[in-house]
């Protein structure tokens, strides 16, 4: 039973941290993509979107190699920064950040692009800095996108399997999240245990999607 709560707590911790970090990083990246005229924009969009189409094992495989002390980056991480990433929580957190990136960036970018350019221009003529404009004008008027990005990122991180398995393995309290626990239970024919995890995930996913539809509907003062 203790093992069971530990797994669920770990799953929620991973999803929460991934969502919080991506709220910052993903919003900044979405803002840049929505406003840049750089020639690198199409390339950046492709890179952000890749985790949507690639098998998660591909991403997991390359991260596994990158984190391994036998490669250049892994050597640097292990010996210079003292970071051991393979088969650790930090490792699967970094994997999750890459894997869930498009779920935050794409709705936010679409949200920014839907706003009339005159809103940011009006704030500029009123003497406001870009950061003030982003915080007080653009983000509040992208609330539906912000809510979609947050809920989808959270839900998607809970559902990830391939990346976590590749770089995290199945270590209780470290890397064994709910989806891995289901696989593990089925493999050792503990169907009842797999069933409990699966039902919890179904319940959680349903709740999150209900929350999403409720939050994006009730916005009387914002154009959706």
């Amino acid at each position: 039973m203790q093992d069971y709560w530990q797994t669920l707590a770990l799953t929620l911790r991973l999803a929460t941290l991934t969502t919080l970090i991506l709220l910052g990083v993903g919003t900044a990246l979405a803002y840049w993509l929505a406003h840049t005229r750089s020639r690198l924009k199409p390339l950046a969009e492709v890179l952000v979107g890749l985790p949507l189409v690639l098998p998660p094992t591909v991403l997991g495989f390359y991260l596994l190699l990158a984190f391994s002390p036998s490669t250049g980056l892994g050597h640097f991480l292990t010996h210079t920064l003292g970071l051991q990433l393979n088969f650790t929580f930090t490792g699967i957190l970094i994997g999750s950040l890459f894997y869930s990136l498009p779920f935050m960036v794409q709705p936010m970018q679409a949200g920014f692009e839907r706003l009339p350019p005159s809103l940011a221009e009006a704030a500029a003529t009123l003497g406001k800095s870009r950061l003030t404009t982003l915080w007080r004008v653009l983000l509040p008027n992208c609330k539906p996108a912000l809510v979609s990005g947050t809920v989808l990122t959270f839900a998607h991180t809970i559902g990830e399997f391939g990346v976590v398995l590749m770089i995290g393995g199945n270590i209780a309290g470290q890397t064994r999240v709910a989806s891995i626990a289901i696989y593990d239970a089925v493999e050792s024919q503990r169907y009842a245990q797999a069933n409990v995890y699966a039902l919890v995930l179904i319940g959680l996913a349903t709740l999150l999607l209900l929350l999403l539809s409720w939050l994006t509907k009730r916005r009387p003062n914002y154009p959706v």
Partner: protein
Amino acid sequence: MLDFHLVKALHSAAGPAALDVRLTIRPGEFVALYGPSGAGKTTLLRLLAGLTRPDAGYLRAGEQLWYDEQSRAWRPPAQRSIGFVFQDYALFPNMTVRQNLTFALPNSRNQTTVAELLSLTGLDALADRYPRQLSGGQQQRVALARALARRPQLLLLDEPLAAVDYPTRQHLQQALHHAHREFALTTLLVSHDPAEIHALADRVVELDLGHICQDGPPNLLPTSVSHASVNATIEEVLPGCQAKVRLGSDAAFAVVALPDDGHHYQPGESLLLRPTAWEIDAGTKETS
């Protein structure tokens, strides 16, 4: 004093052209920018505000250099003393009228300025409404009040009165006239409407394909007749081929002459009126 020579490539429907305008505007002047679509009026306004970057030239506002190609001087819009009223108003949808005005204030100012602006533009009763709960004319007044909140020296208006109906337009013209004098502004107004220019401006600059083709007092304009039209609904058909109508969204009433075209007009029918329709004698065909 505004003194500039601004050059910018235009991408108009008529093909590529270049905006090339050299102008000096005295403090306190009310200048109308007039000309056909694609002449570069809005572009010129955006260049003055710093929302679009010029290709060449210079722009001096009083003692300050806002732009100079040679010395690479550039002041972004946030550092220019301007108020800009956008064609689509650009009110912040997440803020009430009061919050829109408060946001526009520099940090040091307090709420009394907001109260002043609200009463100047007659918005007191609407202060706690969101922009989407306002009519076009009301949004327009908020946009004007917000543009004045920083006490700018230069007020730039991009066809602010194009989307509102005639009675509202007259109301706003008065508010604008009042604000121009009260705040000692130098004002540049983009307008398609000669009647409006006659009512407000003391100088009109006509642009065509990016160049000034006329610069002088408003009576240079060929006609003072406004072509703007207003939707109206017949409330009551009166004897003598006349009708009492409700105008546009403003719920004002007027008596107009109906056209003598054999049609049997009924209450509830819509008409499209030219603004002169209720100022002239009955019997003339002014409705259509």
